[in-house]
Amino acid sequence: MANHIEELKNAIVELEADKVISSVKAGLEEEANPMDMVEGLQAGMVEIGNRFAKGEYFLSELIMSGEIMKNAMALIEPKLAGLEQEYKGNIVIGTVKGDIHDLGKNIVIMLLKGSGYNVIDLGVDVPAEKFIEAVKEHEAPLLAMSVLLTGCQDPMKDTIKAVRDAGLNDVKVLIGGNYIDEKVKEYCGADYFGTTADEGVKVANQVFGA
C-alpha cells in the first residue's frame, strides 16, 4: 500500500490529473484502504503548499491541484462512509458580511483540507450570528475570515467583537486577504492574519499544535 500512497502523492504534486484518477480507480478495485489514498493525496497537497510558499508553484498550480483533489475525493468519498475520519481539528471559515468574494477563501480551504483539517465553509457575505452559531456547533478552536474589500473592515471588527461578546473567548481568529497587515489585524482585534494561502495553513498548524 505504501507505494500507492507515494504514487498518489507524486502524481498530484506533478499535477498529473489522469494518473491521479487512474491510480485512485486502481486502488479502489484492489480494495485498498481509502484512508491511505486520502493520506497520499493530502501529503501531496502539503508539498504543493510548500512549493507555493517557496515561490516554485503559482496560483495556477494550486487551483489545478485543488480540482484534481476534488475529482479524486469524489471517487474515494463513497468508500469513506462509516469510517472514522481523523481530523487535526475543526475550522470555521467564511467571507465577511458585505463581501461576496470567494476565490481566495476557496484556495485556503483546499490547502487546509489537504493538510487534514475539517473545514466548515459558511460561504460569502456571512453575518456575525452565523459565524458564532457554527463555532459553537462544531466547537471550533479556530475561526477564519476572508475579506477582499478594504471597506469591509468594520463588519470584520464587529464580527470579532460579537464572537467575544458571545463568550467565545478561547477561539482564535484568523483574518485573511490580500491587503491585510498588522495594522488591520490590530484594528479588527484578530489573533492572526495571513495574506497568502500557505500562511493560513501555517497559522492553523500553530493553533492546533500540529
Binding site: 499535477l15 490529473a17 507555493f52 515561490g55 508553484y57 503559482f58 496560483l59 495556477s60 498550480e61 487551483i63 489545478m64 485543488g66 480540482e67 458585505g98 463581501d99 461576496i100 468574494h101 476565490l103 474589500l149 478594504t150 471597506g151 473592515q153 468594520d154 490580500n178 491587503y179 497587515d181 495594522k183 488591520v184 484594528y187
Partner: protein
C-alpha cells in the same frame, strides 16, 4: 444615476484635483435592472445603497463551449451566454423585451453620463482622465467567461482552444476600446488588468497565455493613436522587462503593489507612471503618514516628470477624507518644479 453623478459633482466641488475618472460608481443600472443581471450586485439593489458594486464570478462559459465561441462569438453570446447570466432570459418573450428595455436604459445612462462630463468640464474645468475601456484577452476569458478555476484548468487541459479563443478576442478588444471611447485618442483608455499579476501564473504560462494577446491589443490601439492606461492591479514586478517591450509612450503604467523603484528604473522616461499610494493607508493611516508617503513618491519617482499621483487601487468608501486631502495637498505643495 442622478445620485451617482451628484456624488462626483460634490467631489469636484470639495476637492482640488486635476482630473476626474467619471461617476463614482457603475453607471449601467438601467440595463442591469431591465435584464435581471446575475453576474453583478449593485449598490441600492442587491447591496446597501452606500456600498461599492461587486462582481459575481462563475464559469458562465463552460469547458465545452470553446468551439461554438470561436466559430461565432456574437451568436454564442446571444444564444448561450446571456441566458445564463440574466434572469429575464428564462422566458424568450421577456428576453426580447429585456434587451429592448436594457438598450434604451443603457442609452439613457450613457446620455446622462455624457451630459455630466460636459458639465464637469464646463463648470469645474475638469477634463476626464480617460475615455473608454477594454481588457486583456486573458482577462476577458478569465474574469467574465470561464472564471478563475475554469481558465486555470484550460491552460492545462485545452491550451490550444484557449489560445484560439484569445486570438479571436484581439480585434474585438481593440474595437471595443475605440468604440467605448467614442473614437477619442486624446485621453488614455482604461484597461484594468487582473490575472496577469503575480503570483497567478507561472512564468511560462505568463509568456504563453497572458502576454502575447495583451501586447497585440495595446499595439493595435497605439497604431490607432490610442494610449492605454495599463491599470496593473496587484504586483507586476516580475514582468516589468516584458512590459518595457511596448512602444514608447503607448501606455501609462499604473502601480498598485508593483515595486515602484523597479518600475521607475525599467519603465521610467519611456512611459508615464501613476499610482501607488496604498489604499489601506488612505483608510487606516494618518494624514502625516500619507504626506510622508506622497513626498517620498515625488522625490523618488516624479523628479523628472512623467508621474501622476493616485491611489494604488480604486478608492472605496472607507477612505478617510483627511487622508485624501493630505494626498492632494502634499502633491500641490511639494510636487512643483
Amino acid at each position: 444615476m442622478d445620485i451617482n453623478i451628484a456624488c462626483s459633482n460634490k467631489f469636484l466641488e470639495d476637492f482640488d484635483v486635476d482630473t476626474v475618472v467619471g461617476p463614482t460608481s457603475l453607471w449601467m443600472g438601467g440595463i442591469h435592472d431591465a435584464t435581471g443581471a446575475r453576474y453583478i450586485k449593485f449598490a441600492g439593489r442587491e447591496l446597501e445603497p452606500d456600498k461599492q458594486f461587486q462582481f459575481q464570478e462563475a464559469d458562465y462559459m463552460k469547458a465545452d463551449d470553446y468551439d461554438d465561441f470561436i466559430e461565432n462569438p456574437t451568436k454564442w453570446i446571444l444564444t448561450t451566454y446571456l441566458p445564463r447570466q440574466h434572469k429575464e432570459f428564462e422566458d424568450p418573450y421577456r428576453a426580447h423585451l429585456s434587451l429592448i428595455k436594457g438598450a434604451a436604459g443603457m442609452a439613457m445612462n450613457q446620455g446622462m453620463l455624457e451630459e455630466a462630463g460636459k458639465r464637469w468640464a464646463k463648470e469645474y474645468g475638469f477634463p476626464m482622465s480617460q475615455t473608454g475601456m477594454t481588457k486583456a484577452p486573458f482577462d476577458t476569458m478569465g474574469d467574465t467567461l470561464r472564471g478563475l478555476t475554469g481558465i486555470m484548468m484550460d491552460m492545462h487541459m485545452q491550451p490550444d482552444k484557449l489560445l484560439a479563443a484569445m486570438d479571436v478576442l484581439v480585434d474585438h478588444n481593440i474595437y471595443y476600446g475605440m468604440a467605448t471611447a467614442g473614437g477619442d485618442t486624446t485621453l488614455p483608455l482604461f484597461m484594468p488588468l487582473h490575472r496577469g499579476s503575480y503570483p497567478f501564473l507561472n512564468p511560462e504560462q505568463w509568456d504563453k497565455f497572458y502576454w502575447p494577446t495583451l501586447k497585440k491589443v495595446i499595439e493595435g490601439l497605439w497604431e490607432k493613436g490610442k494610449r492605454t492606461l495599463f491599470y496593473a492591479e496587484g504586483n507586476w514586478t516580475p514582468y516589468l522587462e516584458k512590459i518595457a517591450e511596448l512602444p514608447d509612450k503607448s501606455i501609462v503604467f499604473h502601480v498598485d503593489t508593483t515595486d515602484m523603484k523597479k518600475a521607475k528604473e525599467i519603465l521610467g522616461g519611456r512611459f508615464c507612471i501613476s499610482g501607488n499610494v496604498p489604499n489601506t493607508m488612505l483608510a487606516y493611516g494618518t494624514p502625516e503618514e500619507v504626506r510622508d508617503y506622497c513626498k517620498k513618491l515625488i522625490d523618488e519617482v516624479a523628479g523628472d516628470g512623467g508621474f501622476l499621483m493616485d491611489a494604488a487601487g480604486v478608492v472605496q468608501w472607507d477612505a478617510k477624507e483627511e487622508n485624501i486631502r493630505a494626498m492632494i495637498e502634499t502633491t500641490r505643495e511639494y510636487g512643483v518644479y
